[in-house]
Symmetry: C2
Subunit: 298 residues, 2 copies
């Protein structure tokens, strides 16, 4: 990663994180519930989804501010999904990003409710923030919510998580593995890109390119995740490595081998960059962000 | 309950239930997840929240059809809250409406995900259904979602559930008990009424009356729930009676005694009817629906 890109990521991460806590409601919320929501929302992470929203606005020369509520909503949905995934009845994880998981700190009941409240807040945040926004039409807000709901729910992220749980300990085909990742990870990235497109008033061609880019980096992201689980550094990752093999989880390396997984990862990143170049977005931060998905070590 | 009201409730229940399953997405959803969502959505219940939406449209002489997506969304949110509340980490209930709870049939992981997916679907259903609706403006849809999110989330239903859990085994004041019920039960009823008001283009005075009516019947609903837990018939209720006392749960009868609880219930119902009468809605089904909240035996 170049120094410029490093600075870009740091700046954008700080920008996003400054907006996250104020986007939660505090007044009238039982304090334990508020603290539990804040704990997981501020427990670090790459902030990739909000970053993609901002990068689309930047690429289409629109003010970043316009993307903030939608970007925060995406991070809330991503966060709730991790809180629920870590529960004993699901993946039963004690650590997330090097810190105790939500239910380890606040208890299971609070973790379930904090996840529910983060998911609900995502939608009300979008609706409230754009209710009287001078540059975002009500129909754009409706489109954003329809897009986000579709990508986050039973046909999207939650469906992917369900397929993932059902596939554990099973011999999966590459197609089944891709269904899981396309939905579990890819769909929320696609929502970030398409939502950014709605907010930036992208034309149809640009919207299609953003969608394709999202599909590519979504799969690439997951392949890199699987590779890091084999080759990564537990300290940098903030979680154990080798856990996929231990759980006999189907992964790209287990299905394709490590070398072919890396080739596939590289090809997906090239494709992602190429679709953007074709619609004239080759100078946007989305290009180095695609590389970042491949080269990240956490 | 009069025969006419009985017929009204039966007709409206059938009308709502006919729309619930088609409002779920099926294609592209893992079948276990779909079945789990459908199981709890169709497990019976009074359908009170959707019924209130339809009654508001009827009272303001607007087509019922307009309220269907919002009504179904409310029922999905109500259902998800029951699925999550019944989990072992929460109330740990095996039976709901006389049937095994969701996690007893599908397992805990699926129950958590089905709840998440129902909550998400509620918002995408509203956004999608009204995206191109001839009589519902995009800003009305945005207002509906803001209202629903506020009433269902950390400042509303989820906050009430959190306070309820934290209050278990504690000596609560009447004020604390009312905070719990106002939010846990009342807020979603208020959302039904105000959402119906938005869809029916209620004026400010009518909206205020609908809100006050909602506050009254929300508390009344809970007082009757507490009374039924003392005096009710387990078979009719589909759940155990006496469980509140067993769990040493603070209830209206435990704080006020049974007689005063009944007086308070009656006064709330009278107030609910009176606020509607003042804005000329005395001939609407909302009047017998208020009585139904008091006289119901399940």
């Amino acid at each position: 990663m170049t120094g410029t890109m490093h600075t870009y990521l740091e700046e954008k991460t700080a920008y996003i994180e400054n907006h996250l806590v104020p986007a939660l409601e505090k007044e009238g919320v039982p304090s334990n519930l508020y603290e539990s929501m804040k704990y997981s929302l501020m427990a670090g992470g790459k902030r990739l989804r909000p970053m993609l929203v901002l990068a689309v606005l930047e690429a289409l020369e629109k003010p970043l501010e316009r993307g903030v509520p939608f970007a925060c909503a995406l991070e809330m949905i991503h966060t709730y999904s991790l809180v629920h995934d870590d529960l004993p009845a699901m993946d039963d994880d004690d650590l997330r990003r090097g810190k105790p998981t939500n239910h380890k700190v606040f208890g299971e009941a609070t973790a379930i409710l904090a996840g529910d409240a983060l998911l609900t807040r995502a939608f009300s945040l979008i609706a409230e923030s754009y209710q009287t926004h001078p540059d975002v039409k009500p129909i754009t807000t409706v489109n954003l919510i329809a897009e986000l709901g579709k990508r986050a729910g039973a046909t999207g992220m939650v469906g992917g998580q369900m397929a993932d749980i059902e596939g554990e300990g099973q011999q999966l085909s590459l197609q089944e593995l891709e269904f899981i990742h396309r939905h579990k990870t890819g769909d929320l990235l696609i929502a970030a890109l398409r939502g950014g497109g709605y907010l930036a008033e992208a034309n149809e061609e640009q919207m299609e390119a953003l969608t394709q880019y999202g599909i590519c980096i979504g799969l690439a992201f997951q392949i890199q995740d699987d590779i890091l689980n084999v080759e990564g550094n537990a300290e940098q990752l903030g979680k154990a490595v080798g856990s996929d093999e231990e759980r006999q989880k189907a992964t790209y390396p287990s299905l394709l081998g490590l070398a072919e997984s890396k080739d596939r990862l590289q090809a997906l990143i090239e494709e992602a960059k190429s679709v953007l170049t074709k619609v004239g977005l080759e100078n946007s931060a989305l290009i180095p962000l695609a590389d970042y998905v491949r080269t990240r070590n956490k």
